[in-house]
Symmetry: none
Subunit: 265 residues, 2 copies
């Protein structure tokens, strides 16, 4: 869980901030970040009795982009199903499996929106995909602290299952004699190309977006009025590509070179 | 979940009572009982805004014996491991499996003790066994509302798994003849949301590569001698992005527009 960041966006209630921090500590996730928290709530939560080290070390960011800059995967949480969905929506169990896999090689951010509004469309444009805790249709929306607790629980549960599977595989191998049946299946729970499939950090992807946007502006692809929307669309698209770190570097170099050429004229 | 009773023993904080009720409602457990609740806390929780039907119908009992009289299984929750244990202690996952089984035929009570003291020795004497949410040794004790949410989540998860397994079994039985070999695996390989996540055809991806290559040539990114290698690298990279069809069309339009601009000069 040391590769997990919990990011609170626009949280209003200090009790909820405290509750999220407590659940994180219960399950061993120690890195809390906040984007534009309500100043008073943030101060109150930090100074609450028993807030502990986790809250004391929690960092505040002016923008979501900065809060997730060093993360390779950004997952938003939502209670809603009927919003116009531009992202894949995964149930918590499947989500935890994917997050667990990604945490083996890089940092993952899990976002919780404000108590009242959830994550905004702009916030969502920073997400690779969304996840949902499978609550009843009649009462979907969970309390923030409780939702965080359930998510932490499932992530730890998944981590334990993976660790047990990996251990089981090793034990089988050490035993030597019997051939590990369906080893391929079990092996898929452990990292395939260790150290190879590192995913791009969001900072790099964001830079590609900026350079590409500028190139599109210069080429007249984007009408001046449509700029904000184009930027959001572009951001979503680049995240859907799930670039590996090396590819992102190459692509950034390409786009920058093209942009440089466009600016020469 | 209709055979589940959540029993709060000696709860002090109305916010916690409300939080337990909310988590229950989120996950479809509708029967809340309280033993010797702090009178004021109980009244406040019941009259809170949005408390809803669940709390309105919650019943109060003078003794734990009466509260669990109609239950076939009584399970206590505990954060502690070092108390002198007179009961089997199970992890939440195993506990949920056993509770789920029992709920098929009878009522099960899950007990939560007071925020400060947990369940007393006398309370424990009404339990068949105890369960524990697997939290960190360094920070074992969970907030009451959050613990309830995690327990409800795991019970519903277990119920769903059991239902799915039963359905899968029925389907197998109905089909009768062939044994579905690794059906689960195959099913996961086919697209879940058909028509939603259509992937780009390789033809489109190839066109993106051609246009991008030309743009890179024009910008001087590619040295004339290195062209063949660059083309191959670019092709591999674009395939690794696993683009959706709609994204590929957009990207092709972008690159072509940029190329057009480069060719203007």
């Amino acid at each position: 869980m040391k590769n997990l960041c919990v990011v609170l966006v626009g949280t209003r209630n200090p009790l909820n901030v405290g509750a999220v921090a407590r659940a994180m500590s219960n399950f061993g996730a120690m890195e809390l970040r906040a984007v534009r928290p309500y100043e008073k709530a943030w101060r109150e939560a930090k100074s609450a009795v028993g807030a502990g080290e986790l809250l004391a070390q929690a960092k505040e960011f002016p923008t979501l982009a900065e809060a997730v800059a060093d993360c390779a995967l950004v997952v938003g949480t939502t209670a809603v199903g009927n919003r116009e969905m531009k992202h894949p929506l995964r149930g918590l169990e499947e989500a935890a499996r994917l997050i667990g896999k990604r945490m083996e090689t890089g940092r993952v951010a899990v976002l919780f929106g404000s108590e009242k509004w959830g994550l905004s469309n702009e916030d969502l444009s920073y997400c690779h995909w969304l996840m949902r805790i499978p609550t009843r249709v009649e009462h979907r929306s969970m309390n923030l602290g409780q939702a965080a607790a359930v998510v932490m629980y499932e992530l730890v549960r998944r981590e334990r299952i993976t660790a047990e599977a990996a251990e089981g595989l090793q034990r089988t191998r050490r035993r030597g004699t019997e051939k590990p049946k369906r080893a391929g299946l079990k092996a898929s729970a452990t990292p395939k190309n260790k150290g190879k499939e590192e995913f791009a950090e969001m900072e790099t992807v964001e830079r590609i977006g900026e350079a590409l946007l500028e190139a599109l502006r210069k080429s007249g692809y984007i009408a001046p009025r449509g700029e904000a929307k184009a930027e959001e669309k572009l951001r979503r698209m680049l995240r859907r590509f799930s670039m590996e770190a090396a590819d992102a570097e190459v692509l950034l170099g390409m786009v920058r070179k093209i942009l440089w050429k466009l600016e020469q004229e």
